[in-house]
């Protein structure tokens, strides 16, 4: 038996070769862009229809409309009632999902390859030819209004919604996809029909097919299911207008609180608007985020969790969009530790671009974590489809996957500091606390970032 040397860790070998999936691009006669990707592991196939326009396309005053329209896809189509759609999905064991983002809506259906035709046709029927019946609309809207009511008790949801409003102000990105109570109540059945006619059109959609079938067979399925989908002819803009709206340059709310009496923890959101997903600084920002709060071994998580025990976990992230996107630190901390935790968070964000630039060891760990772990995200057909959908959403080149590792590896400590200096500004940071205000008000004032601005729970 080989004896193990426990005096030192085994080195990691050279990175194994990995061939990223090849994307074949096609355009159907109706203008629908189709990406096909072969993925032969298990006999599963995934179809994702990405339609330009998401919650950022909600008309002013009708917040939540895009998500209602997306939700209506499985509420009946052609000859099938809502119940029959559900039955048809179950009969092919389909995994159906809708993801409404700020800029686009992804409808995806995954099934066994032997049900590929049925799955593709069902998805096409649901998304492109939904019944949009008033009776179903009334029910769906009511469920969403009731869901909003329940979210008032969910501290993290209250924090998300309030934080978006604080950082975006009057911008179309300033609400969650589920929208607002007032907005949903104003939506009419006619709004649903007209939004669908304007936005769900082949010319502003991309179909991503990925699974254990050849490119040719995948394209044939796409043609068969989506080839007859005709444009409504309704003039519609490009679906991503929200991305072009610049957030107003209004004074920043430095400190805000939503009182939640008796709460065991304070839910925190700390951050501000930064830049767009397509920024050339993206690789540097990804590395910066990883070492600041993007993974377990990051400055903020190690400080708040592993050193102080204030929280179960703390992380930072960019909520990327085509337009100006926020950088946010999120955590939930013991009420008694609220002010101390905020002090630590602000100090960590501030020091990265100043007194404590990344050490070589930190930088190497963050980069290695991002690059060596990269192939892991290409294991399932759904994962690959999601990655290709991201390329389509941000107009990224098909060489993106292959170039990822070298772009991350090229990031230097100076690049990270420069990117942090360009995109993180401690004087513009908004700190939001959803917690037991009467217990922490005094300590919040001690932070010296101004008098806390109080907000009610509002959806």
């Amino acid at each position: 038996m080989r004896r193990i040397d426990r005096s030192r860790l085994p080195d990691v070998g050279p990175d194994p070769a990995f061939v990223f999936p090849a994307i074949a691009r096609h355009t159907l006669r109706n203008g629908l862009r189709v990406c096909t990707v072969e993925h032969h592991s298990v006999p599963v196939i995934s179809f994702t229809l990405q339609v330009d326009g998401g919650s950022g396309s909600d008309p002013d005053g009708l917040e939540g409309l895009a998500a209602v329209v997306a939700d209506m896809a499985d509420e009946g189509t052609g000859a099938l009632s809502a119940i029959e759609v559900s039955d048809a999905l179950a009969r092919i064991g389909a995994d159906y999902d809708v993801d409404v983002g700020g800029d686009a809506t992804d409808f995806s259906l995954t099934t066994l390859t032997r049900f590929a035709s049925r799955g593709a046709c069902l998805l096409a029927d649901m998304v492109t030819r939904p019944r949009l019946l008033e009776s179903e609309f009334v029910r769906v809207r009511q469920l969403r209004l009731d869901r909003l009511r329940q979210l008032k008790d969910v501290a993290s949801a209250v924090a998300e919604q309030t934080f978006l409003r604080l950082v975006y102000g009057a911008h179309p990105y300033a609400h969650l996809p589920i929208g607002t109570d007032a907005g949903l109540r104003r939506v009419t059945p006619e709004d649903v029909v007209s939004f669908h006619a304007r936005s769900v059109q082949p010319s502003r959609s991309t179909l991503i097919v990925c699974g254990a079938m050849s490119h040719d067979d995948q394209l044939r399925e796409a043609e068969h299911a989506f080839g007859g989908w005709a444009s409504t002819g309704v003039s519609n803009g490009n679906g991503t207008a929200a991305a072009d709206v610049m957030p107003a340059n209004t004074p920043v709310t430095r400190l805000a609180a939503v009182p939640r009496e008796g709460a065991a923890q304070s839910e925190l959101r700390i951050g501000h608007l930064t830049t767009r997903r397509v920024t050339p600084d993206y690789p540097a920002l990804l590395v910066m985020n990883a070492l600041l709060g993007g993974q377990f071994v990051s400055r903020i998580n190690l400080k708040l969790r592993e050193e102080k025990g204030y929280t179960y976990g703390a992380r930072t992230s960019f909520d990327w969009r085509r337009g100006i996107s926020p950088f946010t630190l999120q955590t939930s901390v013991h009420t008694a530790a609220t002010a101390d935790a905020i002090t630590d968070c602000l100090a960590e964000i501030g020091s990265l671009r100043g007194t404590r630039p990344p050490s070589e060891a930190e930088l190497a760990l963050a980069k290695a974590s991002l690059t060596r772990g990269y192939p892991r995200g290409f294991e399932t057909a759904q994962q690959v489809a999601r990655s290709v959908a991201m390329l389509s959403l941000y107009d990224l080149p098909d060489t993106y996957f292959e170039e990822f590792v070298s772009k991350i590896n090229a990031v230097t400590s100076a690049d990270v500091v420069a990117a942090a200096a360009r995109h993180l500004d401690p004087s513009r940071i908004t700190t939001l606390v959803v917690g037991d205000y009467s217990a922490i008000a005094e300590s919040l004032r001690g932070l010296n970032i101004g008098e806390p601005q109080l907000h009610a729970v509002e959806f």
Partner: protein
């Protein structure tokens, strides 16, 4: 047609037991250059005692703090290698996993074996106390500060007598967590964390022979121990018990809970299917009745929660604004009565089996992580004594009949053997079902 079309569905493996008792299982899958390392210890909160609840889970946290030969945290050398890693504790078992690039298998096994063999020297009082605080915060975040978050504590206490190991939740009571001592760690480690109470799976881009050699090299030197005795303990409800729990919620919710067959026991898969046909999707009976047609509920769920000593079946429905839990309960009882009387329809059975087959196929897509192939092989090995159970598991669903489901529902979902819990907004006792006794959970 369905059975033959999926005839090739399988989860092949090689198993060898080392001299120290560690089961080693290898599954090859070379699609992506990654290897999943997955370790199960057959210990969970069921192995705790009253007054010491939450210990198994706190211990899991300590497993990430470092070990004798790498004493600076478990995460850094693995994240640096491109790993994704995590662990979890439930009533029955504790699992730990890494998914690493093929180039880092040695490092993952070195780390995983070091904490199996040499954990204790790294556990200092300071680390222990910090993780105790982290766990208290996990408890606040996942239970105390979450709507309906305390329900499972109330239900566990109601379903089982106080000396039954399922009567407390894995997270434990806050008082017990605060009272834990560093000294308790050693005893727990020696009793439960050794090769003969563990099972290791390597799944992914690795040759079987090499995997077995590496496992032996890294883990073979760790002394085995006595395998703890399996806990066998019955529990039953003598009658229907109606309870009410106040919470910070806008809308009342009704829960019903029953004892049901243990994981993999006769009737377990049938109850899983009963859960689907009651509340999975718009076509399911309770969703269609309560949420779609009558609109007296916002949501409904029904699940067989399969566990080693004995399972429970849990049904829950949230009242739509202005609608009463009494109406919801009456409709649920009607559907349960109908199911026990007539059984499922042919269509319902076809649909349920089609879904089960597809979901077994989806389960073969990932090698690592919670629910990946490595985790499944360990689940079968630890709970069934052999990893060779994937196809047999699917067959449990293929062989389920209308008659078996009807019989299971009739036998296990009895009105006179259940907990019925009303969760209501604070102070609004009249919203609970009549005759409900207030309970508290903290």
């Amino acid at each position: 047609m369905t059975a033959t079309a999926l005839a090739d569905i399988d989860l092949p493996f090689t198993k060898r037991t080392l001299a120290n008792g560690l089961d080693v299982i290898v599954h090859e899958d070379h699609h992506v250059p990654i290897v999943a390392v997955n370790v199960w210890y057959h210990v969970g909160s069921k192995n705790e005692r009253p007054g010491r609840t939450g210990f198994a889970h706190l211990f899991e946290h300590l497993m990430f703090e470092g070990s004798q030969h790498y004493n600076a945290g478990y995460f850094p050398p693995l994240q640096q290698a491109g790993a994704l890693l995590n662990g979890s504790t439930n009533a029955d078992r504790t699992n730990y996993w890494e998914v690493v690039p093929t180039s880092a298998v040695d490092r993952a096994l070195w780390m995983e074996s070091d904490r199996m063999g040499y954990l204790l020297p790294a556990i200092t009082r300071e680390r222990f106390e910090t993780q105790r605080d982290v766990v208290l915060n996990e408890r606040r975040q996942s239970y105390e500060n979450r709507p309906y978050g305390m329900v499972m504590m109330a239900l566990s206490a109601a379903l089982y007598p106080p000396d039954h190991p399922y009567s407390w939740m894995t997270i434990g009571s806050a008082d017990d967590i605060r009272a834990m001592q560093l000294e308790d760690v050693q005893d727990f480690f020696r009793t439960y964390y050794h090769p003969s109470n563990a099972s290791l799976v390597l799944a992914g881009d690795i040759e079987t022979e090499r995997a077995l050699e590496l496992a032996d090299a890294y883990f073979g030197e760790i002394p085995g121990g006595a395998r703890p005795r399996r806990i066998v303990k019955g529990a039953e409800l003598p009658s229907e018990q109606r309870l009410l729990l106040e919470d910070r919620v806008e809308l009342p919710r009704l829960y019903m809970a029953w004892h049901s067959p243990a994981m993999f026991a006769a009737g377990d898969a049938e109850m899983d299917l009963v859960g689907d046909l009651l509340a999975n999707g718009k076509t399911s009976r309770l969703y269609k009745t309560l949420v779609y047609d009558l609109r007296i509920a916002l949501d409904v769920s029904a699940h067989q929660s399969s566990r080693e000593i004995g399972s429970f079946f849990l049904l829950a429905a949230t009242a739509a604004p202005g609608c009463s839990l009494g109406d919801i309960a009456a409709r649920i009882d009607e559907e349960l009565h109908r199911l026990a009387g007539d059984g499922p329809s042919v269509e319902e059975m076809d649909r349920a089996v089609a879904q089960a087959e597809a979901h077994f196929m989806y389960r073969l897509q990932t090698v690592g992580g919670f629910g990946g192939k490595s985790d499944q092989l360990n689940a079968y090995n630890v709970m069934k004594g052999t990893p060779a159970f994937f196809v047999a598991d699917l067959d449990r669903y293929r062989r389920a009949t209308r008659g078996l489901l009807q019989e299971s529902a009739r036998q296990h979902l009895r009105f006179d053997r259940r907990i019925v819990l009303s969760v209501i907004p604070r102070g609004q006792h009249t919203l609970a079902l009549p005759g409900s006794t207030p309970v508290s959970a903290s």
